[in-house]
């Protein structure tokens, strides 16, 4: 097995709230290899964005990485000094943001914003950086790039802005990109274009992509492997095909049965009862037990370990050897 570009072991991020610490990311293990796309799936509030921000050392206060290791190209990032981190961010490890409306500064042209990282990391002159920025705009499929580089964000459509954000993230040729819901704010047709673009750029550059999404359609379209997060924990991991065909965790099963299917028209959708718990008041044991149709006594009392191996497994007592269910 190839060495991972990004490898998380037991990543834990805690928010020190006035009422006591709240765990947003709880012991997440994840491996991302060069050139591959891994999906991190979960509902809003499951901790997937916080996991990504933790990798970049950008947890918003009062949040902090409280434990675990973030190994990036063999280097430990957890606990790294801010100055060191600044040299890695954008240059080697980058992020694509969800909201094309808010992730661009309204008072600068898009060219200037793409050029910022190039000037900071590669020491390019303003002129060289602007030329490179126009080149990047062409690469992300924006017509008339030299003129578009002088446009302000409000002059571009949502899809164009998302392309600009991708160009910004890829400007310095990072080894890994954390894409946080890169298509959520877009129309379905534009979504497909952006995913194709991301896939193409990834193939050309051989970079790793962690695709953070709540959309199983996006997962099926783009990723080979996926990890499902619930209330800060990775509850199931595996190849996307296996995950869809034979989900091990009741939560994954719930996500799949709440989607309409083309191969079973007329079948009733089964939503998951209840709502995502508040991280300040998480249920005991397996965090999913109050919503789980199969929950039994042990689920309430003990945290299930990760059954299976690093490639395929789930955190559910149903998988325990000799389980009653």
């Amino acid at each position: 097995m190839e060495a991972s570009v990004l490898s998380l072991r037991g990543l834990t991020t805690v928010f020190d709230l006035p009422g006591g610490p709240a765990t947003a990311v709880d012991g997440v293990d994840l491996d991302l290899q060069a050139g591959e796309t891994v999906a991190l799936v979960g509902e809003s509030g499951s901790g997937k964005t916080m996991a990504a921000l933790s990798c970049l050392g950008l947890t918003p206060p009062p949040g902090r990485v409280a434990g675990g290791s973030i190994l990036f190209k063999g280097r430990e990032l957890a606990g790294l000094a801010e100055e060191e981190y600044r040299r890695i961010r954008g240059r080697h490890l980058s992020m694509i943001f969800q909201e094309p409306m808010t992730a661009l500064n309204p008072v600068f042209t898009v060219g200037e914003q793409i050029a910022e990282g190039l000037r900071l990391h590669l020491g390019l002159s303003p002129r060289e950086a602007m030329e490179r920025a126009a080149g990047l705009l062409a690469e992300v499929g924006i017509p008339n790039p030299a003129r578009r580089a002088a446009s302000y964000p409000h002059e571009l459509s949502g899809g164009m802005r998302q392309r600009v954000i991708i160009a910004m993230a890829l400007a310095c040729g990072p080894d890994a990109v954390l894409a946080d819901e890169p298509t959520t704010a877009l129309d379905v047709t534009i979504q497909a274009e952006i995913l194709d673009l991301l896939g193409r750029l990834q193939d050309e550059r051989g970079m790793a992509v962690l695709l953070i999404t709540h959309d199983l359609g996006v997962v099926a379209q783009s990723a080979r492997r996926a990890a499902v997060m619930y209330a800060g924990r990775v509850v199931e991991r595996g190849a996307v095909d296996d995950l869809f065909r034979e989900p091990l965790h009741p939560y994954t099963r719930g996500l799949l049965t709440s989607l309409p299917r083309l191969d079973a028209p007329g079948a009733r959708l089964t939503p998951i009862a209840g709502a995502v718990p508040d991280i300040a008041a998480l249920p005991s044991g397996c965090h999913f037990h109050p919503r789980c149709p199969h929950a039994f006594a042990r689920c309430r009392a003990e945290v299930p370990p990760a059954f299976g191996d690093a490639r395929r497994g789930a955190r559910c007592w149903l998988l325990a050897p000799g389980s009653a269910a």
Partner: protein, 281 residues
């Protein structure tokens, strides 16, 4: 989309009439102050014992004062003092307010707490009496007046900038800049400050009006600009003793203060409306 200049004006005028009026007054006053040496018919300090307290005439369009000095000339030079005080004092208060507001808003936590409680404490002092007290101890020179007004008027700007910074720092584009590897100084000057510029500009414009009023009041009380250097405030003060026999000596500087303050306030208020799309027309 090309409109004739006339049509453009017809579209612009009804919406921005107040903006134009304010800008016109401000521009006019600034021009008069700048060109004072060219426009003034006499020296502002030349005493003429043969023309004491003369009513406005062709020789002295705004009359003369108790020492026979030409009021028009003194008013023109007084405009320089007023505008100079306004700009320098506001420049100082905006600089302090920006620095502290950005720092408090971006750093948050204890820094924020200390700076903002400091603002609260300073706001507890009635600022005009604070200025009076300080000026009474220091020499009432033009420089001291500008500095004291600046040092006692930055709190509003600091609060404004802190609030803007708080809302801007959590925006995705600031996070994106951090992901791109930008440090705090770069983020503050490049990403936060330009986005907070509009309200600061409005506040600075209104601040000029306030500073001019304070300077006039100080000069009127004799603690501001010292004679023989003319300022609207001290012309007004000299006029109050002879109000019944030479009302022009009070009327014209009063009118000038009123017009200038009105001009800056109109400009500031309408800039706010133009720059802030949330306020409906």
């Amino acid at each position: 989309m090309s409109l004739s200049p006339h049509a453009l004006l017809a579209r612009f005028l009804p919406r921005h009439g107040l903006l134009l009026a304010g800008a016109g007054i401000v521009a006019g006053m600034s021009l008069l102050a700048l060109l004072a040496p060219l426009l003034a018919p006499y020296s502002p300090t030349a005493i003429n014992a043969e023309a004491l307290l003369q009513a406005p005439s062709w020789a002295h369009p705004l009359g003369t004062d108790a020492l026979g000095r030409d009021v028009l000339s003194r008013m023109l030079y007084g405009a320089r003092v007023s505008l100079w005080v306004g700009f320098v004092a506001v420049g100082l208060s905006v600089t302090i307010g920006l620095a502290l507001g950005l720092m408090a808003g971006y750093a948050g936590g204890l820094t924020d707490e200390i700076v903002m409680r400091g603002v609260d404490v300073i706001l507890c002092f009635p600022s005009f009496f604070l200025i009076l007290a300080v000026i009474a101890f220091l020499e009432p020179s033009l420089l001291n007046i500008m500095i004291v007004i600046g040092l006692t008027s930055w709190m509003g700007v600091a609060r404004l900038v802190r609030a803007e910074t708080l809302s801007l720092r959590s925006r995705d584009f600031v996070l994106a800049a951090r992901v791109a590897g930008a440090g705090p100084l770069r983020i503050l000057t490049l990403h936060v400050l330009p986005n907070a510029a509009a309200p600061v500009l409005v506040s600075a414009t209104l601040g000029v009006a306030g500073a001019i009023l304070v300077e006039s009041s100080l000069s009127f009380l004799g603690l501001g600009v010292q004679p023989p250097m003319p300022s609207w405030g001290n012309i007004l003060m000299e006029g109050k003793d002879v109000l019944e026999i030479a009302p022009w000596l009070s009327f014209f500087p009063g009118l000038a203060i009123l017009l200038t303050v009105l001009g800056y306030n109109l400009l500031g208020e309408s800039l706010r409306d133009v720059l802030d799309p949330r306020i409906g027309r």
